[in-house]
């Protein structure tokens, strides 16, 4: 504790509302309106190393956008996100799989995109396959998987390839009840690890109460409140009920 893992300073993220144009459209409608949607407006906070921060907010308040930006998928339009050189992985529903390739190839490729070397991933492949309970399906194309298998594999990859910072976006409720139990236990082990910093986005109050040290409440892209778990969750619940 004490050492800073994530610094988010004055971050704003915009989405330009732009649907794919066609040649016809760009010729006839010369000036297209440049609409900007502000997903995150001037957010600042910092997370200490080993801390578990829960993020709450109603749908569309910018939680996922924030996580994707911390994961480095896109840079913020304004402000700085400083990870102090830590490795980071985002655990979200439907991690980027290539449908035509087999589960095994996808494990290796996604692992490498998370910043591990080919060898490091190869060493972990068996562990990941065992955890994901896919059995013989692992050598079939991902396109043939059921949605449950898909998300189980995604969870297994990010859970077994441990990075310094883990961003968890509503994935604690995938699979059947047995897998849920297993993933919850695995998650708790990771969270207990003092070296792993975790950001969790969830709508489940019980999960957050059990796992988090602090809660950040985002409302319409701006910070509403940050602080003790009990307190913030209570305020949030009151806000949502009225």
């Amino acid at each position: 504790m004490g050492e800073c893992a994530i610094d988010v300073k004055n971050v704003s993220i915009y989405y330009r509302i732009l649907n794919g144009t066609s040649v016809r459209k760009s010729v006839w409608e010369k000036k297209q309106r440049n609409l900007m949607h502000k997903a995150i407006k001037g957010l600042s906070f910092s997370v200490n190393s080993g801390e578990v921060l829960g993020i709450v907010g109603k749908n569309g308040s910018g939680k996922s956008t924030l996580l994707r930006s911390i994961a480095g998928i896109f840079a913020p339009n304004e402000g700085v996100i400083d990870l102090h050189g830590h490795t980071v992985s985002l655990m979200a529903l439907g991690i980027g799989f290539i449908d035509r390739l087999s589960g095994r190839e996808n494990i290796v490729l996604s692992g490498m995109l998370l910043g591990f070397t080919e060898q490091e991933v190869e060493d972990k492949v068996q562990e990941i396959i065992d955890f994901s309970e896919l059995g013989e399906f692992i050598d079939r194309p991902v396109a043939t998987y059921s949605s449950g298998m898909y998300s189980k594999l995604a969870f297994a990859i990010t859970a077994m390839l441990e990075t310094d910072i883990m961003l968890v976006d509503e994935v604690l409720s995938v699979g059947d009840s047995r897998f849920q139990q297993k993933s919850f236990t695995k998650m708790r082990d990771l969270i207990m690890d003092v070296n792993t910093t975790v950001l969790i986005v969830s709508h489940s109050m019980e999960t957050l109460k059990e796992l988090c040290d602090r809660i950040l409440w985002i409302h319409d892209g701006a910070m509403q409140e940050i602080g003790e778990t009990e307190l913030v969750l209570q305020h949030y619940a009151e806000f949502m009920n009225c």
């Binding site: 040649v23 760009s26 979200a92 449908d99 490498m112 995109l113 080919e118």
Partner: protein, 364 residues
């Protein structure tokens, strides 16, 4: 024809340089400056080219007395200079944009390529294996497919249309191999980002890595095809000369040019949804203008030289055939001109992709 070429030689180079300059400055140029830049490039380019001609001993230049060959040279030199000049201009006078940009992005490209090298190779290998995973003949398809294509085209163009280049089968096969590499990568490039949306929106990677991976895949297939070419040359007893080594720089240029075109189209493919249709048509047209199945000499007078030099694919194919079959060197002036142009285009493509990469990830 004279007038057309003359006008093109006068107007095209400054127009290209002007457009490129404005693109490099993100289009933030006022109206007055725009006129200034156009005039600047007009004067500069023509002084430069005429000066070059003067140094080579050309005196008393009039449009009337020019030969077509000379006009083509004039136009070619103008276009190449036009493509490179704005880069140097910005490099020297707009240090904040270009010198810093080249330094920063150049370093980033090297770092990224080193960092993602394993991914690129692994991804190409996985896709290659996947392509043949469920077929009976397995990897034999990589040999059978191009061979069958070659046979079809040899039959149709050799017997039906009576093309009679010596070693016609190999002649077609070389053209076909190089053309397939180019067209597959380019048409893949247009759809890359949208087709790989599941990766692009979920994890960071420099987007052109996807294109490089695809190019490795197609490059591997091209390698097999060239292996077959070599085998066929032994079979048909084509005399081997030391000029075979020129194939290596020629293939390198093919890679560079394909990469440049691919990256640029990759960017526009995201925003212009009907681009893939347009590219399909353009590629088809280009195929017939590149002489995949026939020698360029079949085009009427000025066009054979014009296309042979100004169409990089025709140039590369012809040079490769020359090197392999007829034992002669490529035309180095054309080679280096296209090398410069491809490099500048690749820089522009890479820069465009890095500059817009946030936008790609947000399209969902």
């Amino acid at each position: 024809m004279f007038i057309l070429l003359g006008t093109a030689a006068t107007l095209l180079p400054p127009l290209i340089a002007w457009g490129e300059h404005i693109y490099l400055k993100h289009g933030e140029v006022s109206g007055k400056k725009r006129i200034f830049y156009f005039l600047f490039y007009f004067v500069f380019l023509h002084t430069f080219i005429l000066g070059m001609a003067f140094c080579q001993g050309v005196r008393g230049l009039t449009i009337r007395t020019m030969t077509i060959d000379y006009e083509i040279k004039h136009l070619g030199a103008g276009l190449v200079c036009a493509f490179i000049a704005p880069f140097f201009y910005c490099f020297i006078f707009e240090t904040d944009i270009l010198a810093a940009g080249v330094k920063g992005y150049g370093r980033r490209v090297l770092v990224d390529i080193w960092k993602y090298r394993q991914y690129v190779v692994r991804s190409a290998r996985a896709h290659l294996r996947e392509e043949v995973a469920n077929s009976y003949l397995d990897w034999l398809w990589w040999v059978i497919e191009p061979l069958c294509m070659m046979m079809i085209y040899t039959l149709v163009f050799g017997f039906l249309f009576g093309s009679a280049e010596p070693n016609f089968a190999i002649f077609v096969f070389i053209g076909l191999t190089m053309w397939t590499f180019f067209s597959r990568n380019v048409s893949y490039g247009v759809t890359t980002i949208l087709a790989n949306r599941s990766i692009v929106t979920r994890v960071y990677l420099p987007k052109y890595m996807l294109l490089i991976s695809q190019m490795l895949l197609n490059g591997f297939k091209m390698l097999i095809s060239f292996g077959i070419v070599f085998f066929m040359m032994l079979l048909f007893r084509v005399p081997m000369t030391c000029h075979i080594v020129w194939v290596i720089p020629l293939i390198f240029e093919l890679f560079l040019f394909t990469f440049a075109v691919g990256t640029i189209l990759m960017h526009f493919g995201v925003y212009v949804s009907d681009l893939s249709y347009i590219i399909g048509i353009v590629l088809n047209m280009l195929m017939y203008l590149s002489g995949v199945f026939y020698s360029m000499e079949r085009f009427p007078e000025p066009f054979d030289v014009l296309l042979g030099k100004f169409n990089p694919l025709a140039f590369l194919m012809n040079s490769t055939r020359d090197a392999l079959l007829y034992g002669s060197m490529p035309e180095w002036s054309v080679y280096f001109s296209w090398l410069c142009v491809s490099t500048v285009m690749a820089c522009i493509g890479l820069y465009t992709i890095y500059y817009n990469e946030n936008a790609y990830a947000k399209i969902s």
